[in-house]
């Protein structure tokens, strides 16, 4: 006590005075007197105005782009929502004028055919994309890129016709495999072109650093390029899957349709006509029976939900944090 009194009794030194004064100043507005006009977003500046207008424009356009999605989803829910239930997954398609029923076999069929098509196209497409990104200028690469671009415009019905000639006629009957092949023809160009694009976007310095450390080309691809490009590749794969799941025309000539489960005599038979959601929607939406039409809309909802789930699962795989 007596110490602090003794300190207080001493007159303040110059340093202390200055310190006190600085503190007093600091307590006042430190930025008093500074003109802030330059640091604020002012609408009177043309450049800022331009930027803000464009921001609003882009926001508006995105909202407009979302409206059809909600409109379509609303239509599906309104027209088919009443059918949603477990029966859809466990029952077979109903006959005309029959009530109830479901499309469990169509769900299984779509999953199997799109699954097989993905298994075929993803290795084929991604590795071709790797090749294209690495050997960008060679003649072979040019030819492949050119062919892939031509294939983007391939009408879906012709993919079915081709698979009919190549597989259905060769094996003597409609089958899920033929359907999967037809779908792969449609998925392939998307996967090739997006993989190439994604891998080409990996910064060159990462590739060079990996090689500089003594990695072989293959190790570079597997440990550096593919993981970094994975989000882009996955986008391509998801777009391809979404398209394949919804295509009807190719399946009409290859997998036809079936009103029964995919298994006969207790095992899965891939070499027989297979039901699919897309063909079910096509068939049922065109029938003059209310039950069928409602089931078609419900099937469309289930299809969209399936693709969404696949999308989310795929994204959980690509949760890679990349240090750049």
């Amino acid at each position: 006590m007596s110490d602090s009194d003794r300190v207080k009794a001493k007159p303040p030194s110059e340093a202390e005075t200055l310190l006190h004064r600085a503190e007093a100043e600091a307590e006042k507005d430190p930025f008093a007197g500074v003109d802030f006009a330059e640091l604020e977003l002012s609408l009177y500046r043309p450049r800022t105005l331009f930027s803000i207008i464009l921001s609003w424009l882009v926001t508006g356009m995105t909202l407009l782009a979302l409206i059809p999605l909600f409109a379509v989803l609303w239509m599906l829910i309104w027209r088919g929502g009443r059918k949603l239930g477990l029966a859809l997954f466990t029952q077979l398609p109903p006959a005309p004028l029959e009530q109830g029923g479901g499309f469990g076999n169509a769900i299984v069929g779509t999953l199997i055919m799109v699954g097989i098509a993905t298994l075929i196209t993803v290795p084929l497409g991604v590795l071709t994309g790797v090749f294209l990104a690495q050997a960008g200028a060679s003649k072979l690469a040019g030819a492949v890129r050119f062919s892939a671009k031509v294939l983007t415009g391939f009408p879906s019905i012709l993919a079915g016709v081709f698979a009919y000639g190549a597989i259905v006629l060769a094996t003597g009957g409609y089958s899920a495999i033929a359907g999967a092949v037809a779908l792969s023809i449609l998925m392939l160009p998307t996967i090739i072109l997006t993989s190439e694009s994604a891998i080409a976007m990996v910064p060159a310095k990462m590739k060079e650093a990996s090689i500089g450390l003594g990695a072989t080309g293959t190790q570079t691809v597997w440990m550096v390029l593919l993981p970094t490009a994975m989000p882009g590749i996955l986008t391509g794969v998801m777009l391809a899957i979404a398209r394949a799941a919804g295509e009807t025309a190719p399946l009409l000539f290859t997998a036809l349709f079936s009103n029964y489960w995919l298994a006969s005599n207790g095992r899965i038979d891939l070499m027989q006509p297979t039901a699919s959601l897309a063909v079910l929607i096509y068939n049922f939406s065109g029938m003059p029976f209310k039950n069928q039409v409602e089931l078609a809309w419900a099937a469309a909802l289930v299809l969209v939900a399936l693709v969404l789930i696949t999308n989310l699962i795929g994204q959980s795989f690509s949760r890679q944090q990349v240090n750049q």
């Binding site: 090749f131 072979l140 671009k149 190790q219 025309a249 693709v307 890679q320 750049q324």
Partner: protein
């Protein structure tokens, strides 16, 4: 810290086991390298073989039709299976017209949505709202901006998941009745303008273009967004550091840098628009006439194929295959044209 830049800690540990990359590759690793390279080349060659096979099969089937009709097929305008006269000029025009229009609108909205997603507007807005309630560092609410961004991205990609048949039905039942009054008013007021010169009696070019742009939009958005996001952050920061506003960086730095990727997305979307079968077969009106009017029905090559194939007899199939070849040729020509345009633009910007 990882020993190989660009890999995660997990990858780093894998490197210990898969191959110790700070030493020269072992014999096994070199073998694997050679095999893998050969595999990649093999797959690429397989792709070419596949496409060559496709084109070959179609061409072979189309030969009888080519012999019979020759090039007149391309510039005649009547399609009459009864009399044996086939001409696909209206379909060629319809395909180009609808696809280019859809591409224009789809790209405009698609790239806008991609910019919206990559700039993170939604996240920022939600963050500002949360900040008002001081929740922006909350364990649950704080994650909301990121979660909403992911949700938005998935919603737009969901547009790609709707089957084309459903789009066709939506167009028939919802879009056409919705736009009919407006279009007929436009026709009544501005009928002299070639784009509005007929009235909308049902399916037509405008509903088809509308639905087609919605179908190709997710492709453009998803791929453009990826391209925009992979622009190195340094470029963006450098632009801001130089005092550019947000949109000056987007227009001057980000979009040009991402243009390769965005163009790739546009190419894919255009291909999709050209080959779209089901939705257009329901919505374009299937009338074999050459017209510029947005409200009149027209026909496209893919829709013609979709409509004629199921019932085509042996005589019609070669003709349809010929039409398919023409469609592939169109895809080719427009892609080459686009690549040329891009090259010119790139040369110009590099010359600067």
């Amino acid at each position: 810290m990882t020993s190989v830049p660009g890999t995660t800690r997990l990858e780093d540990e894998a490197a210990w086991h898969v191959g110790q990359t700070w030493q020269p590759p072992s014999k096994a690793q070199r073998w694997i390298d050679v095999l893998f390279r050969r595999l990649c080349v093999g797959f690429a060659a397989l792709t070419i073989v596949l496409i060559a096979l496709l084109v070959f099969e179609i061409a072979v089937k189309a030969i009888p039709a080519f012999r019979e009709h020759g090039l007149s097929f391309l510039y005649q305008a009547t399609w009459d299976p009864n009399k044996g006269t086939y001409g696909i000029l209206p379909e060629i025009w319809g395909t180009l017209y609808t696809s280019l229009l859809a591409l224009f609108f789809g790209s405009a909205f698609g790239i806008a949505a991609a910019v919206f997603l990559s700039e993170g507007y939604l996240g920022e807005a939600v963050f500002k709202i949360l900040k008002n309630f001081n929740l922006h560092f909350h364990p649950f609410w704080g994650k909301l901006p990121d979660r909403l961004e992911v949700l938005l991205k998935n919603l737009i990609e969901l547009l790609a998941a709707v089957p084309s048949v459903v789009y066709g039905l939506w167009g028939l039942f919802v879009v056409i009745p919705l736009i009919r009054p407006g279009c007929n008013w436009l026709h009544a007021q501005f009928g002299w303008f070639p784009l509005f010169s007929t009235d909308l009696s049902g399916p037509g070019i405008l509903p088809a273009v509308f639905v087609l742009s919605i179908m190709i939009l997710p492709t453009i958005t998803a791929i453009s967004r990826d391209a925009l996001i992979s622009v190195p952050p340094k470029l963006r920061m450098a632009a801001y550091g130089l005092g550019a506003t947000r949109w000056e960086t987007i227009l001057g730095v980000l979009l040009p840098t991402a243009s390769r990727g965005i163009f790739g997305g546009v190419v894919l979307a255009f291909g999709r628009a050209l080959g779209e079968t089901m939705a257009l077969a329901m919505l374009v009106g299937n009338a074999n006439r050459l017209t510029v009017s947005l409200f009149s029905p027209a026909n496209t090559l893919a829709a013609l194929l979709a409509n004629s194939f199921p019932e085509a007899g042996a005589k019609e199939i070669p003709v349809l295959m010929y039409a398919a070849l023409v469609l592939l040729a169109i895809t080719l020509v427009v892609n080459m044209f686009g690549a040329l345009v891009l090259e010119r633009a790139a040369a110009k910007s590099e010359a600067k």
